[in-house]
Symmetry: C2
């Protein structure tokens, strides 16, 4: 927990109880959670938590570079808490979002066609390995 406090302080984010709990949840489930998943987890420990706080905290985290925002699905934002930049695969059958460690030739580039790059997101979409082998039928839009 002391570790989490330092993480927030190093980014000039006041380590409130709510923010620490949200960071803890992101650390624990290193997946690609949406606001509702985080909110539901929080409810277990902070019954008074407000969804507005989750939105505002994630917005703060994103602004300070603590989390990355994924728009891989059109429904809602997914939040990624992982140090190394990486790409993602979205399975259109089961909805899984899988980390892809590709070596993007622009990963270390700060500029492209004269535009200054601050973030790179690579989205691969298709059918995941699991679904291919199990030959599942359900297909997401």
């Amino acid at each position: 927990m002391d570790n989490l406090i330092k993480i927030l302080q190093s980014r000039n984010i006041h380590p409130s109880y709510q923010r620490l709990k949200i960071l803890e949840i992101l650390e624990k489930n290193k997946d690609h959670m949406n606001v509702n998943m985080i909110f539901e987890e929080l409810l277990k420990e902070i019954p008074t938590i407000s969804k507005t706080t989750v939105y505002s905290t994630l917005s703060t985290f994103a602004a300070k570079g603590l989390v990355h925002c994924l728009t891989i699905t059109p429904e809602e934002m997914k939040y990624d808490y992982r140090a190394k930049p990486h790409h993602h695969f979205l399975c259109t059958r089961c909805g899984a979002i899988i980390d892809i460690d590709v070596q993007c030739p622009y990963a270390d580039t700060m500029e492209i066609d004269g535009h200054s790059i601050e973030d790179i997101q690579g989205y691969f979409k298709g059918t995941c390995r699991e679904c291919l082998t199990h030959n599942k039928t359900q297909t997401l839009k």
Copy 2:
């Protein structure tokens, strides 16, 4: 217009008046329009057009591979009508979405980590060339 009919027929899409007009708009403004932009354009020629029709038509076009769906912004879906696959740059200052012709090493790959790829989307985000030179101040979220 005969050309547009053939495009739809070649993909087994019945060339209704509404669909042809939507395709025409997509051809004319080869940009990255959202449903509302297309709807507003349509209203000029088809005052009775329904937004539901725009949604359903674009959904059909996407299913048949006529358009590509971009989730580069979290607000709403953008539709891309261009033959060659390409990547995109989003300027977080002015909101411009610019085509990027990068040579992605996975562009011609159909598989990654055992997952079958059907679509690849590369999103670069930052400050566009225009904004850099004009040093504009407004910043989008």
